[in-house]
Symmetry: C2
Subunit: 227 residues, 2 copies
């Protein structure tokens, strides 16, 4: 890219970072654990989120979701079945969500009435990497059907994630999934990353994943109490 | 995006289109069918390409490949096993290939010595849509494990494709693949698109796919003969 384009891109990122910082403060002050879900298209973000919302709502937690896609409100309709409030963000041709889009779609929601906010990013292993959405946790999903080399091929996104969730583990044998290589590659790009192994279809690993989210929210609100 | 950013983006696209036009003329003059493969990460572009190169080389055709990834030369190493010349293009943080990158990586190859050039784009269902690489055929891949709604969610890329290849059909039952909905959604976004259903693992559908490529090259060179 030429210098002038780089300058403008840096300006966009700086503006996004300022907005994300404000959002992060708002979420923390309201005791909301914000989670940014990123992955390839088709990895199963919506399926994981649907089950996560169902578990949390059943446990008496108050959770909401924003869902980004270039087009269609299919995912918002799917997720609304969980009983949680859900809004679709249609991005047109934009390959990622930005803090400004998140902020604008929060309108009318009282954050004090929420415990968890999930943001399902546009399906993309490249573009979302640079855009902080004010989340407490950035979670990258990787399906057993995708191949174990994805962390090495898409290092910016994987190295920016706090947690990795391996999805569709019920299909691991059919896909010839190399679990050891996947864990090695994740650790190479993001040493010490927490990894969950899940199947939205069979329910495997979901209880551990939801427990982890609840624990992380408790840490957030404990910090708030001390602050 | 702001007007100034849009202006600069349009300038980048205009420059790319000019370069792509030149490449398309060079490929046609040399009788090279150039194929741009696009899909999500993990859909199986490399696996399809490996089998395609193997079939073509076995049939006496001369084929080469350029492979785009943010990082690693894993795919070039895999593809080189076919015996075809292969070059890796590492894009750093760029989420798509551009005509300029393709042009620069052709250096040293005599196009007159080739029948087919495959360009495996960066795994991404958004960014590659706007970047013409001078290809004769843009081929979008969709795995049975990804969900049938992808054409509706990523219309710019699917509507820009000439051909769709459904991959991993050996896993269709395990994935609960809805074939009818997928074909309906592809036709909704890109009416009349040619669809191939393949498995690089079992070989299903590969002969039809390779025959189609050979036919398309014959059309290209017949046009050349008349020109």
């Amino acid at each position: 890219m030429q210098p002038r384009i780089l300058d403008i891109r840096q300006g966009v990122l700086d503006k996004n970072d300022r907005l994300a910082h404000e959002l992060r403060q708002r979420f923390a002050a309201a005791g909301v654990l914000a989670v940014n879900l990123v992955s390839s298209p088709g990895t199963g973000k919506t399926a994981l989120l649907e089950e996560t919302l169902r578990h949390l709502v059943a446990g008496g937690w108050r959770a909401a979701a924003l869902v980004g896609d270039l087009a269609t409100a299919n995912d918002a309709r799917r997720l609304a079945r969980s009983g949680a409030p859900v809004r679709q963000i249609e991005t047109g041709t934009l390959c990622h969500l930005e803090a400004d889009l998140v902020s604008r779609h929060l309108g009318g929601w009282d954050l004090a009435e929420l415990d968890f906010l999930f943001v399902e990013n546009v399906g993309n292993l490249v573009c979302p990497a640079d855009y902080d959405l004010g989340e407490s946790l950035r979670v990258v999903l990787l399906a057993v059907t995708e191949g174990e080399d994805k962390p090495l091929k898409y290092p910016p996104l994987f190295s920016s994630a706090d947690v990795a969730v391996i999805t569709k583990v019920d299909m691991a044998a059919a896909a010839g999934f190399d679990r050891a290589a996947t864990l090695t590659n994740l650790a190479a790009v993001r040493p010490g990353i927490a990894v969950f192994e899940t199947s939205a279809r069979t329910g495997q690993g979901l209880a551990e994943w939801v427990d982890f989210l609840v624990e992380r929210r408790q840490v957030l609100t404990a910090d708030l109490g001390r602050g």
